[in-house]
Symmetry: C2
Subunit: 352 residues, 2 copies
């Protein structure tokens, strides 16, 4: 019976002995190799395994087979709904393929990202999926690329989500296109005096996030197609977080006064920033949606219930995760996939 006093896991050897067969037969019975095992023997092995509570040592299998069942996912911040939604997609899809996913966090620090990749590389994952946002002209980009190249040289696969073109498998999210459509639609609704809360980076000292940049540029183009221009003085650089949005709006109010100097629409480059911005407006006595329209980007499900309901560009984040895994597993990378954003006009931009 089960040896309750043991303190190290049951091995295949134990099972084989218990079943009275060889290691080879036990192995073949438990993982359905190409080779057949006589039913009687397989039966005995399965029983013995069950009785002993055997569970194959994945590390040993990995060493013997030369391949693991692991996929690594690197995100900026797990608690951020943007990343956790993507993670949910990856984990869900991974499970369908009987893969285990290991996660790490860059904490939005691009130097750490290189370290994390180095650490993850040791796991010999089938693929490394990078969902952490990249910066333009990042000084660590070269180091990252080098580390990833080494990983690929060892047979690994690298998938990048939403970023600059890189010599790896790419999953593009249509930030620019979505933002453009959003900008165009809002301009058509009559908004003329627009301010933008962009992500961090002024282009000089700190480099901007690629995602933020794409959304900023796209949005401006969308507005421009209706003859609306956003002067540089109305583009605020701030953190890519809720607090960043809050502070950005505060800054706007500080600069232009509590009537915002006629600004009728504030576009934040992501939903959590937009929500922070609404709070700041409210705290300054403005009613979002009435005194100033606000729009975001992403369409985070958890934020679906904020009031007024947020106009945004809807991104299928779980699907992004699923597609990323599919891309990682595909034999041939194919052309870079593009996931589109869909404009969702809601009460936070009632129109003028």
């Amino acid at each position: 019976m089960t040896d309750t006093a043991r303190t190290s896991p049951v091995t295949l050897h134990d099972v084989a002995r218990e079943a009275g067969v060889s290691l080879a037969t036990a192995s073949r019975s438990l993982n359905g190799s190409t080779r057949n095992v006589k039913a009687a023997n397989r039966e005995r092995v399965l029983e013995a395994a069950e009785r002993l509570g055997y569970s194959a040592n994945a590390s040993a299998q990995a060493v013997a087979r030369g391949t693991t069942t692991t996929v690594a996912l690197l995100v900026g911040d797990i608690a951020d709904p943007y990343f956790s939604s993507i993670a949910a997609g990856v984990v869900g899809a991974a499970e369908d393929h009987h893969l285990v996913v290991t996660m790490a966090e860059t904490r939005r620090d691009t130097a750490r990202e290189v370290e994390m990749v180095r650490a993850l590389r040791g796991q010999r994952p089938r693929a490394i999926i990078l969902a952490a946002s990249r910066r333009l002209g990042d000084p660590h980009a070269a180091a990252l690329a080098e580390e990833l190249a080494k990983y690929e040289a060892g047979g690994g696969r690298v998938v990048f989500i939403s970023t600059v073109d890189a010599p790896f498998r790419m999953l593009h999210v249509d930030n620019a296109g979505g933002a453009q459509a959003l900008g165009s639609e809002l301009a058509a609704m009559g908004y003329r005096e627009v301010a933008i809360l962009a992500g961090p980076g002024d282009g000089a000292e700190v480099m901007p996030l690629r995602t933020s940049e794409d959304r900023l540029t796209g949005f401006r183009e969308g507005l421009a197609s209706h003859g609306v221009d956003v002067p540089a003085s109305r583009v605020i650089s701030t953190a890519f977080t809720r607090d960043g949005g809050y502070e950005g709006m505060q800054q706007l109010i500080g600069t232009f006064g509590s009537d915002l100097g006629g600004i009728d629409l504030v576009f934040a480059v992501n939903d959590v920033m937009a929500v922070g911005a609404m709070s700041a407006a409210r705290d300054a006595g403005l009613v979002p949606g009435r005194d100033v329209a606000v729009a975001g980007f992403d369409d985070i499900p958890t934020l679906r219930d904020v009031t007024p309901r947020l106009t945004t560009a809807s991104l299928p984040l779980e699907r992004v995760g699923e597609e990323a895994l599919a891309l990682a597993l595909a034999e041939e990378p194919g052309s870079p996939a593009l996931l589109e954003a869909e404009v969702a006009i809601r009460e936070s931009t009632p129109g003028r």
Copy 2:
């Protein structure tokens, strides 16, 4: 130089050969064992490793050392901010210990949970942390306990977050106490006619979630201490999700009419449900906070900006994750830790 054509990872053997030393010396140089290596040799090894882009094979190390650097985390739903906050805490703390965390999702299905544990067990993680919510009288509980017992018999550690007492390391979250304090305070503020949106399970067909049950009971006790009673007809069983909250409120409105028959406070057993409930109220023409007060539980950061700001019991979720890991790593389990919730009264319950 780096062999760019290779397709299988660089091994320690390669490094040793490149450096002109033995496998043993290479191993000792690269991981700082107890044994000394002459500086010159270590230097050569480090250089060779760098040049070849070597990264130690974690699986092989695990097999050789008989121990991994992995911790497994099992959550109900990664995209749910409750779980992702805990996950962030675990991942953050794990990193400080140079551990990698692998995540799996039960999708709130308790049968799947057993399977997931079985799969994770193969990884031989140092610990398995279970954050997935458990049900009272779960028919799969026995199977789960058995699977976990097997894992522990193999030297693994199991940590349970927020649940029934079980013969494993426990991290208790003070759901009952927090709910009681919240109930008491709200009763003191004058609320008398209360309805509760509880989690799923009617106690007969479907078993209730332990978390939900604790919060329900605690809240009732808190009210009772001020002489306020909640009749069973005002306790709605619904899904533990945003949609569950929405439907629960709809049901309340359907039953008691659009004035809610005098109900002045609705307590939802978690924040996402509360937010869903507010939306349902709004969609029915009620103004949350004015026509009906709403309270939640958890204090999810992402939901900090909903309006009216949500009264809730604040749980330090990231800390829960950190403590869970600490508990997993501790030599001696010690007495079950208890993490307290703090009442946060905000505008969604202005008082009467």
